[in-house]
Symmetry: C4
């Protein structure tokens, strides 16, 4: 978060999510378009952003509506037309974005750049594979743009906190997922043997699907044990599964609490030994005993 | 909470929830009614409150009973009559409340005032739209009045603690809901494409409903995947969904723990040993015995 | 926990759960029976306890087995006989317990005394109302006796910790349950209006049952929304419900963490001002500055 | 964790999980095989490990595929053959492992040694009992070997943290499971009496299965209450169950937070200002700058 340079007037965020892109040149229509598309400060720039968000939401709604059989029967042509209008608008916007930045490839390879492309492709693909038309809903990912537009530094900060806790928990979560998978394979096979195809457990992968659905306490009921032994095994799986599913909540909460608490730490460099992080109530360096240059906490 | 003025003998609570209302005049029947309806101290005032609660509960029970086909078949007339009696009673009470306070509009626009009105309207509306009769159950919201009647300052305090933690988590929760919505749209569309109408996924909004039901681990089973790919996607969604659904629990718990911890501790530096955090009832440093420079806690 | 007197050689636990009962006299068969039934120290006393546990488990198993149609068809007579044998044994044991203690009423009114009676009644009642035979499973509550038999002071301590956290959370939990009930009534009525009897929502109480099943993420699927509006309301309820169901987890975890942390407190009376509880790293009283008489933490 | 001796170049982990095994002799083919199978350092040793993991994954996939009716119809012979090839490979590997170590029994009795044997048996047993063929999926447990192969000391450390918190919670969890079982028996019997066989509650054990499925919020819906009283009892069970199911999450989170917090802090009293808790890398008191009396952390 610290390397975000909001003074650049450019999109904040990391290199991957949305790199700080330079304009291709510094004057003329091309530069004005660059400002309009990549800055969010003046009135016109903000109006462009709001219009963009409205169009994204509208384009997603069109896809949702067009999937409904009743709506489709009556309004398909209009919705089909609207979808193409939106697609062409997005395609135009994408081309312009490519044109106005100095390093088009860097934009195209960034996360938001990829999403911008993904938002256009499915409609064209649907000319070849009609089913892919529904995939245009990936356009909703374009809404992530909101975070940048609103200059939600605070939101990024919160997201950073959540993500930081997730990253610190990653090893624990990997162990957790491996354990879950192992249990799913074993109980899937047990149920396949015990209940068998006549009760819907037609294969071990089906049993694994059932085990995941059960352990996560979703429990659709499309597959459920019918024999006494199967029900006993299910009760075992539920209790084991519950014990295990409790783990990530615990991990995440504890990590989050720790991350939030470590904010009680101050970034303060000891003048003698250069140790950079101290408790916010420390008056002396815990390494070399040097008095710390103090900031007023009450300010 | 600190701005609640219980000495006024009036309803505690914030401006929005229940503003401190003044009587229209200070004597006569109108003032006696004001005391009866807005104060909760003397024996008669308390009896009025208890009777009101009993009537509210009875009126909700009447609506519940009248919705049951068997009960309705036998007792509909009696229940219908009772509902009108309750409605007219509440209408009378509402008119009186309007009459006795100095600023009727402030009462009418407060949360409890609006609920008082909502408790009357559906019965009258049911003369035009019979189905709306069931909506009289909003009367149950009138029970929130209990919190004020019992002068549950402690309860308000607890509610305040819970709400405070919620408010401090609001940004994190907004990010969370946006993420959830995005995942629901994408998986809803995927299942619509993969499973299709023949397995119940008749539209993308239906798929979104299914995705929400799945991610929250409700899993009715009215819609469930039938193909191998659909089941694989479902397992993915469950694992992703579970990871994400863990987040608000973690956020809320950590915030609550922080809010609870920061109560009862004071940031106060001991002049001798520099210990920076003391119990809020401490007069001497627990480390070195030095007298603490004191702030007046009652201020 | 502190008022448990294990030196009495009698059942530990609170007055309500299991009061410390005195023998009717101090010698003879009556006293030997008293020792056998209420003490758990010598070899014979322990053997009696183990036999009792075995009989309790066996008697519950008999009821479970007798409820299974196939087992019942073949072994009903044997199981019926066994049930009566167990019942008469328990009745004999109950009479003896009443006989050997000095204050039979105090025993009869304690929690374990009531359970001992409840374990006998259903079998006798089943002569009048056959269905009540299944209620003999309340015998399983007699297993709570295990905690006392094994003198599980440590377990009682853990249970005490869990219960203490629950008690400290009781106000928050009451607010929580009231909120839940209010939401259930309102959404139950909404679904009754929107979905109506043709989709199974035959009355508002049925809708409330559905709302509870949904909010707790159980989701049987015996009732599920079939209309678009109903599904939208369901998604709302799930998200609201989830936000609310997160609250008790947060409350309980935070309370538990606080209770566990407050064990970092030492019961230590200040010689000057008598303040009784200090941080375990305190050297001076935080109230009067007096040096504290210190215990060696490393011991 | 502290007794892991990575300098031995042997498998880390506890005595039970995977004891440190010595080679039968120190030269020749037998020693080279020992290094290949029990060490993970040189290029060839690492290649052996990777090949082993690939074969394990492939062998589990074969069993999963062979359980699918469509795949089985077409490829059964090939899969059957592959399964025997894998089984013979694993049998050969097991024999070699037994041969090359100095204490074959210690290897055979360790956790990983038992799994290695279990991975072979089902295929041979399937010659007698065809159904047991599916149980070869226990081979997936062989993947636990990954943790050792990758010398994931850090991962072991994380697993240790998770396990440590579990062990510290074990008494609380035992109380929790007993409570759950008691509630399941009582509600199982109640529903058997109230709903009866006509709504699927054919026996008390069936009711217990339903109670577990309900309390854990899985809710398949294969059994669900149909009467008003049954639905009321279900709502009670859900609320009771939810209150109880919250407990292990709370316990585990609080324990985990405590375990994580107590790392990195040392109980050490500053000789000058008496501050009692310091970071484990502190040399000077962060409060008064006094040098701390030091313990050797590396000891």
């Amino acid at each position: 978060m610290g390397d975000v340079k909001p003074t650049r007037g450019n999109d904040g965020g990391g290199e991957f999510f949305a790199p700080v892109l330079q304009p291709a040149n510094r004057e003329g229509l091309r530069y004005r378009l660059y400002r309009l598309m990549f800055h969010h400060e003046s009135r016109s720039e903000r109006n462009f952003d709001l219009a963009l968000i409205a169009i994204i939401v509208a384009s997603v709604l069109v896809v949702l509506l067009d999937s409904d059989p009743e709506v489709k029967a009556r309004w398909h042509f209009q919705l089909y037309l609207a979808e193409w209008v939106f697609t062409l608008l997005f395609a135009l916007e994408y081309s312009l974005r490519i044109w106005v930045v100095r390093e088009p490839l860097r934009y195209a390879r960034s996360f938001l750049g990829s999403v911008d492309l993904l938002a256009i492709l499915p409609t064209f693909l649907s000319l070849l594979f009609p089913a892919s038309a529904s995939l245009t809903v990936v356009r909703i990912l374009r809404l992530l743009r909101i975070f940048r537009i609103l200059k939600l530094v605070k939101y990024s900060d919160e997201a950073g906190l959540l993500t930081h806790a997730l990253i610190r928990s990653r090893r624990k979560i990997l162990i957790f997922v491996l354990t879950l998978l192992t249990i799913a394979v074993i109980f899937g096979a047990l149920m396949y043997v015990v209940e068998g195809p006549q009760h819907g457990f037609v294969s071990i992968p089906t049993g694994m699907y059932w085990a995941v659905v059960t352990m996560a306490t979703v429990g659709y009921g499309d597959l459920s044990p019918a024999t006494g032994l199967g029900r006993f095994l299910t009760s075992m799986l539920i209790i084991i599964g519950y014990s295990i599913i409790v783990v990530p909540t615990g991990i995440y909460t504890a990590e989050l609490a720790r991350t939030m608490r470590s904010r009680g730490r101050v970034q303060l460099r000891c003048p003698q030994c250069s140790l950079g992080e101290h408790d916010d109530d420390a008056w002396f360096c815990r390494k070399c005993g040097e008095a710390l240059p103090h900031v007023d906490n009450n300010a």
